[in-house]
Point group: C2
Chain length 401, copies 2
Amino acid sequence: MSNYHAFTEAEAIEYARGIEGMFPEGAQLVSREIGDGNLNLVFHISDPVSGRSVILKQAVPYAKVVGESWPLTLDRARIESEALIIQGRLCPDLTPKVYAYEPDLALTVMEDLSDHIIMRRGLMERNRYPLFAGHIGEFLAKTLFFTSDLAMNQQEKKLQVKAFINPELCKITEDLIFDDPYTDSPNNSFDVHLRDAVESIWADTELHLEVALLREKFLTKAQALLHGDLHTGSIFIKPDSTKVIDPEFAYYGPMGFDIGAVIANLLLNYAGQEGWSPSDADRADYRRYLLDTVRDVWTEFETRFRALWNEHAADRMAKTPGYQDLYVAGLLQDTIGFAGAKMVRRIHGLSHVADIDRIEDAAVRERAQRLALAIGTALIKRGRSARSIDEVLDIALSATK
Amino acid sequence: MSNYHAFTEAEAIEYARGIEGMFPEGAQLVSREIGDGNLNLVFHISDPVSGRSVILKQAVPYAKVVGESWPLTLDRARIESEALIIQGRLCPDLTPKVYAYEPDLALTVMEDLSDHIIMRRGLMERNRYPLFAGHIGEFLAKTLFFTSDLAMNQQEKKLQVKAFINPELCKITEDLIFDDPYTDSPNNSFDVHLRDAVESIWADTELHLEVALLREKFLTKAQALLHGDLHTGSIFIKPDSTKVIDPEFAYYGPMGFDIGAVIANLLLNYAGQEGWSPSDADRADYRRYLLDTVRDVWTEFETRFRALWNEHAADRMAKTPGYQDLYVAGLLQDTIGFAGAKMVRRIHGLSHVADIDRIEDAAVRERAQRLALAIGTALIKRGRSARSIDEVLDIALSATK
């Protein structure tokens, strides 16, 4: 990494100008730094005349949120770039195109998706995306199936596991999702009105046992190459298009973690709808849309995953009668458990979601937070015995007053 | 590996002479090549005057069994050496001392254990080793616990997983143990009198499902650094000492695979006792000793593993009430299933065991083979629901006419 240095906007423009075939000769390029301010610089470089644009994403060797004092290796830029390339090969319509990757600069050059919006914002604006469940079901089915032992040469898969060993970013998940929320950790952050609910989570050993089992799977189950952070802030969307971005948490882990992340974030938005009351009927209707989407995400995933298995399983033993059914049943259970864990951490852990935090009225926000905790903890406890995605919908409905 | 070349005996002697402090100045060293002829050269270098000796084990870049045409990377020498060093740090009394490792030569210099015998031979001679269960229980508990997420810094564990990605040798296990024996593969090898039993294994889809699940665990469950080939041919023994050797199959996998390997090989010897009939009472008595050892191996492992967990768990969440019990219950189930798979492959797969193959009378050998298959398949089918090691003993006893 000896040639690494963080780009200035002028350098980003200069670099972009050098990309062959990207911009017309002599274009007056404009740069905006649009990173979320945590781990990366993100330069949006555009030519107002031709309308062309491109994204330069550069990792910085520290977490900006705490200044330069929290070092992070730049290897995550390699992991993100390689994961994007694999996902792009499998799902070209559902990922940003990667034009170049510069290891020395920890820099990925990729397609500008500014005509899409971040899905979290889309849901907060109560948009509906009828194609989303099919799109994300396809993304999940293809990326998880084709990177697993079911479809890959199993020796090549091991080398891919090796290439995606990702200790630093996995640690963030292990601590912030599977540990801190269940104990009185200084990393937690929550509204004072929530203390009784949080304390009962800290005391709930039945819940802790389920979380320990989920965490063990996250630590040991090298089932497929995960996106690793597949919340609605990692999805760009518009009515006719879905793009999954930011796979820097990619590593080989349990498939249910990615599927659960999508479902968790739909349900967090569901809980956040406490803050919206044009009429009870409208709110109930939007919530029904979200629950239908939860069910459809699973169903679209399962249908495609089984079809891929039937058509493309490379492994002779994958065709053993009964194996696919047991495998998929296990995926559903993992999905439900992980979905619960991904919800709970967003209420009183370090990192929250705008769907709920943006509710200004404290009493209403509290109702949304308690609803999310009720759904999340119930999902965690149900995971190991669940048999149908409908149980998730039942849990959400019965937790809703 | 540009400096690699396979040693001649003269070169092995020359190298040994250069090891500081090993042999007296001017000693007349003697070399014997004692490798089993498969994957490695093994030079036993000794000085008849001082009585000192040492082992030089050198990997060759092909499998000798098929000439030079089956290439194997020399990386397995690194893996074996690094595994020996880790196991030696955890269990210094139960492993050969490693004096040096030369990466360029794929050469490990280690303690000579010629005062021990290979345990398979010891059991074939019907020796009893009352300390063995305690020794191997300690080896299993310490090597598996201390290399797992329960005891390690979880980020360092990931780097260790990476260092022990071992595709070539895992492939041997995946094919020869978990695939070939369950289908009409050209790799299988069996006496013609056994064809009906083998064909019913090829047709037994209930069995295949359990094997597919075990194989999935072998492929994905990075629980601990395994020895990976812990049969009684990988154990040197004498009444007061047990030494585990040859961890070239080491990789991060499910703990039960190692524990099951030990139990399987005790039970293969149990089946092989068909070939011994001094009196029915003596045979029954030796078999009772073997079954007691099976039970004790598990019990000694479990007791120590739980004690290590209670004292040395690094992971806060490992202390969650109920977690240890569930974890150990899962280990027992894995152990029983893997033990069954390790037995079955030794009867009609590529690689057999002398405990049974050395029985000269074909009718007696056939009884031993059918007994081993009956026990092995019953263990595979019991694994997922087993609750006690006594079930293994019951299965063995009830399969024995």
